[in-house]
Amino acid sequence: MKPEGRLHAAPPRRPGQDPWWVRWTLTLAAVGVVGLLVIVPLVSVFYQALADGVGTYWKNLIADPDTRHAIRLTLGVAPLAVAANLVFGTAAAWVIARFRFPGRTVLMTLIDLPFSVSPVVAGLVFVLLFGLQGYFGPWLRAHGLKVIFAAPGLVLVTTFVTLPFIARELIPVLEAVGADEELAAVSLGARGWQVFSWVTLPNIKWGLLYGLILCNARAMGEFGAVYVVSGHIAGRTDTVPLRVEKLFQEYNTPGSFAVASVLTLLALVTLVVKVALERRVAVVEPEIPPDRTRGGES
């Protein structure tokens, strides 16, 4: 604290402006936390991955057949889950934004459920449903279908975990755009599919892309639910995140970090695309307001 006598000499403060030491302390705290919890780990992933040189790094990624398989598996599972959510999310968002029906709020809440449920629980539920001892297990087995400890299970839980991303992103966009243009298209003779692809889709494309990017990032990075249903079988059901963990458990730190760096890169790319899209979504032509100011020339 400053001595009393100097107080009156201080420049008058604007209301709402805090003293410099408050601002600096808070800023430093925020920067410090981000640096410690985000930047340092991020840098260390790449540092560890490249600790033995680029050659070793590349070998860690490519030479191990199990790692190669994990990358291939993730590249297969994630797009399938994203595609499923593209269809489901768009349909659900459209229904919720356009119609008022009994159970609408329940549907909205249920779409959010995967956000609040622990992925491990989600995985267990699917094991319970489709596992050998599960409700559908015997039937699936009788028909020679394998869901748990196999790729279909991975797709299923990944879809579940990423369910909210696209629907959540699209509902506010659809509500902001409004139904007027769709109605106009119908009045002009457009069929349902034409209305969607010629009017609705162009209006929501940036929001949709944004949702897709986030959904994909989560799908590729999912660990908990996938861990439970995959059985963690190297070379068969290990996805990239599972592979990272396994390599780490096997004391193969450089290998583990090399694979981790791939996931981190994916996260960084997602972040960049996301920021670019956010700008796009914000700039995208706002709803045409009823014009009262520019009506002069006609």
Partner: protein
């Protein structure tokens, strides 16, 4: 092509938007659905368009029952209140939309769009985005888009509602001229009685989901069916009094009212339009009411005089011709007499004001 709406009812939850409505739109005419907000006029328009489905009742286009047809199959042109232009498409593509949907060949599309651009006088702006147009221009694009595929009828929902007064005036006259050129059966919704009277061949006044009156603007204005219509169609002075023995008593004033010859007094309301009241310096007997001039506004085609009548303190509005105003030399504070030239009396159970 004529439109017939028979006994149409539409509810939204507990709210009855349309209550057994009947409507007749003669082929080639321009009809205005006029009413305050919540009167059901837009719902009726949407049901005619097929954008909304009636709970009961039928809609006919000429001899064809279209009640179960979707808007897509009805081949109509619909102009939305806030234009609803496709914001991601250029003016050209907006107008061409209905033609692309119908898979018109490219050169015919281009020809038709050019024709419409000429009609709405926006040649040269076809590459603009809707966001680069003024309100009036957007409205005309919306109209051209609706007309492009040669619809059987044109439906307009508050077409000029979002425009400023001057543009609105111009577009009204333009719409009227356009209608005279193409003679397409048209229905438009408005809450502005002036707009309805200026543009329409036939006016349908609606209130609370029902049609109160329909007829030519002249008929409706001169012979309002009830107090609501009278009140809705422009400024009116309201006198509350009682009817007895063929006369209406308001304050110290008496007016002949032969429609009520009974002995028993009954509350009644008299309506007089501002231009149907005269002002004189001296009393004209029991047919006039003492009043004091509050304010005079002679700027315009008539002099608008505000008065306070008699001891009851009733505010009155009188439109005087400028010559009559000059003759009287009125100014605020003058004691004068007000004399109705024409009175319409409604017994209040028709409509409580």
């Amino acid at each position: 092509m004529s439109i017939t709406v028979k006994d149409v009812t539409k509810r939204f939850g507990k709210f009855t938007a349309l209550d057994h409505v009947n409507l007749e739109v003669p082929g080639g005419s321009l009809v205005a659905l006029l009413g305050p907000s919540g009167s059901g006029k837009t719902t009726l328009l949407r049901i005619i368009a097929g954008l909304e489905v009636a709970d009961s009742g039928v809609v006919w286009y000429a001899g064809e029952d279209v009640t179960r047809r979707s808007a897509r199959e009805r081949n109509i042109g619909f102009v939305f209140q806030h234009y609803a232009l496709f914001r991601h498409l250029s003016v050209f593509e907006n107008i061409a939309f209905g033609l692309r949907v119908r898979r018109w060949p490219k050169d015919r599309v281009a020809g038709r769009v050019r024709e419409l651009l000429r009609l709405i006088r926006l040649e040269g702006l076809e590459r603009r985005q809707p966001s680069e147009l003024s309100g009036g221009q957007r409205q005309r694009v919306a109209l051209a888009r609706a007309l492009a595929a040669q619809p059987r009828l044109l439906l307009l929902d508050e077409p000029f509602g979002a425009l400023d007064a001057k543009v609105r005036q111009e577009l009204r006259q333009w719409l009227r001229r356009l209608h005279e050129e193409i003679h397409m059966t048209s229905v438009f919704v408005t809450h502005d009685q002036e707009e309805a009277f200026e543009v329409a061949d036939k006016v349908v006044v609606m209130r609370a989901g029902q049609v109160e009156q329909s007829g030519t603007p002249q008929e409706v204005f001169d012979h309002p069916a009830n107090a609501f219509v009278m009140d809705f169609l422009g400024n009116v002075n309201v006198f509350h009094g009682r009817a007895q023995n063929g006369r209406l008593h308001v304050g110290g004033m008496q007016v002949a009212y032969p429609e009520y010859p009974h002995d028993q007094a009954r509350p009644a309301t008299a309506y007089v339009r501002p231009h149907e009241l005269d002002i004189s310096a001296t009393s004209e007997g029991p047919g006039s009411l003492a009043a004091r001039v509050l304010h005079v506004n002679p700027a315009g085609s008539v002099a608008k005089v505000q008065l306070l009548a008699g001891d009851s303190g009733l505010a009155l509005q009188v439109d005087l011709s400028l010559s009559r105003y000059a003759e009287l030399g009125l100014k605020a504070g003058d004691a004068v007499y007000v004399c109705p030239r024409r009175v319409r009396v409604f017994l209040p159970d028709d409509y409580a004001i």
